[in-house]
């Protein structure tokens, strides 16, 4: 196999874009992250009817009460932008907004959210026009593997709703519920400060 060292002068994001085919191949062989297949199957007859409003659309579902909001989004609505990292409220990869407030969707049941307004990463862009925060993440190279990025961005949007004054120290503290194993924190903070919390 060829040495995948990036040619000189190329930025990391350019390199990633050009080698995306091999990245996809790697993903397939590496399989899903731990816990991603852990969705409880609904025993026959145990489904509860629930209407979930996600990104402005009502979805009528029949769900086992055990299904978390995270699993409902990913496995029942095919909204896989929201990621499952730790599945225990430690990493923040599953962050979504419920009624405008950021929460960890892995630690709440889908059936608890009838009547709530749920916003996920899929609802941020307007067609091909990225949300300014998404654009800021790209501009500042604020991700590497990208697994935590949806949660980081949704957490930032939720943070902006909380009316903090967004200086570097505040952003670091207020984004502490989102872990980045690649260690992109300085770039994430740069992206947030550049964006400034005005959507």
């Amino acid at each position: 196999m060829d040495d995948p060292k990036p040619p000189g002068g190329m930025t990391r994001s350019q390199f990633v874009a050009r080698t995306s085919a091999s990245a996809i191949a790697l993903q397939v062989t590496a399989g899903l992250p731990a816990g991603a297949q852990d969705n409880p199957a609904a025993p026959a007859g145990s489904g509860m009817p629930v209407v979930l409003n996600v990104n402005g659309t009502d979805h009528r579902l029949s769900l086992d009460p055990r299904v978390t909001l995270l699993d409902a989004l990913r496995d029942h609505l095919a909204l896989t932008g929201t990621k499952k990292g730790c599945d225990q409220g430690t990493c923040g990869a599953c962050t979504v907004l419920v009624n405008g407030r950021r929460i960890d969707s892995c630690l709440t049941l889908a059936v608890m959210h009838a009547g709530d307004t749920i916003a996920t990463i899929e609802g941020l862009a307007r067609g091909e026009a990225l949300h300014p925060l998404q654009a800021a993440f790209i501009k500042h190279d604020a991700f590497q593997c990208g697994y935590c990025t949806s949660g980081q961005i949704m957490s930032c949007v939720g943070m902006a709703n909380e009316k903090h004054s967004l200086d570097r120290e505040t952003v670091q503290a207020q984004m502490s519920g989102n872990i980045c194993r690649c260690g992109c924190y300085p770039h994430i903070v740069d992206a947030v400060l550049d964006w400034g919390g005005t959507s």
């Binding site: 978390t68 225990q88 407030r101 950021r102 929460i103 709440t108 049941l109 608890m112 939720g158």
Partner: protein, 326 residues
């Protein structure tokens, strides 16, 4: 998690009726603790009663106390103007807790009812008298760096994990509780039970009782207070040691003091002897060090957590100095 039934209720009587006599039925509010424990089979409820729609989320001053609804979220209490003005140490304890996402979810009642983070309690493959009475304590002689040095017994050294319970203990908060036989008020100082020989019984609540609110008496000098939390990283981590401190100082002399410790005890730990030693003492480091010695005088380490005795003293001294110079 195991299969369970789910029901949603709109008021306290319906919640209490729904929970009934099934000892494995549980209330769920934020869900951040119980769902976590259900995923690791530490909790296996037969029924979850969703109480999120109960009208118990308000925060309001009523005469000489502030009533915090049991369903007020941690983030709402932390940002409440009245709480911030009257009880800075309550707000700072909440801001030092968990992550912003979890603070948006977790209720105040649930926070007070949260279970220990002791790794043996959370691992069903290990012994734990709190989870499986009579099975032994893995933490004694085991990995006990995070465990308690105050209020322990030969059966359990698990630390109480709540931050906000620490200043609430210092402020003599009172819990309002509803049950099948009516309502009652329980002072927080009487609410938590030391592990003794029954660490599985953690509070005086009986099955089916529901915390509906928390009254925090307005202690005038508590407007001069802080919560200092020492931990392995700056944010989003449980306490190794913490101190909630309020001081009433006139002319350099301490008139009154409230002190409670977190992260080091099996229950949120009021340090009354340390408070008494500070009354009529000068607000100096020497006084604070004497008080800290008194606060930890009954502490016992278990090997890997011996450092907590020293750390808790230093945490308390620093918290007292912070308030005295504020």
């Amino acid at each position: 998690m195991n299969p369970f039934h789910y029901t949603r209720v709109e008021d306290s009587p319906a919640a209490i009726a729904a929970i009934g006599h099934d000892g494995r039925a549980r209330f769920v509010a934020g869900g951040t603790n119980i769902l976590d424990l259900m995923k690791i089979y530490v909790e296996e409820p037969t029924l979850l009663v969703d109480i999120n729609r109960l009208p118990l989320a308000t925060i309001e001053q009523r005469g000489d106390s502030v009533l915090i609804g049991a369903l007020a979220r941690m983030s709402d209490v932390a940002t409440d103007a009245t709480v911030r003005r009257l009880f800075p140490m309550v707000a700072s304890a909440l801001e030092a807790s968990a992550s912003p996402q979890l603070r948006n979810m977790a209720s105040m009642g649930g926070n007070l009812m949260q279970r220990t983070r002791c790794s043996y309690f959370r691992d069903t493959a290990t012994p734990c008298n709190k989870r499986a009475p009579g099975s032994g304590c893995g933490a004694l002689g085991g990995e006990n760096r995070m465990n308690a040095v105050l209020g322990t017994s030969e059966h359990c050294i698990a630390t109480h994990a709540s931050d906000v319970a620490v200043p609430l203990m210092a402020l003599d908060a009172v819990l309002h509780v509803a049950g099948a036989h009516g309502t009652r008020d329980v002072p927080l100082r009487d609410f938590y039970l030391l592990p003794g020989n029954a660490p599985q019984i953690e509070t005086v609540l009986v099955h089916g009782e529901l915390i509906t609110g928390i009254s925090v008496p307005v202690v005038p000098f508590a407007s001069r207070s802080t919560y200092l939390k020492v931990r392995d990283r700056a944010h989003y981590e449980f306490a190794l040691a913490s101190a909630a401190v309020a001081l009433d100082i006139t002319g350099g002399m301490i008139q009154n003091a409230r002190i409670a410790l977190g992260g080091v005890a099996t229950i949120p730990w009021r340090a009354r002897e340390a408070e008494r030693m500070l009354v009529n003492a000068p607000a100096t480091r020497a006084s604070f060090q004497r008080a800290a010695e008194a606060a930890l005088s009954g502490a016992h380490g278990h090997g890997k957590n011996d450092y907590k005795i020293v750390l808790a003293k230093r945490t308390l001294v620093r918290a007292l100095e912070m308030v005295a110079t504020s």
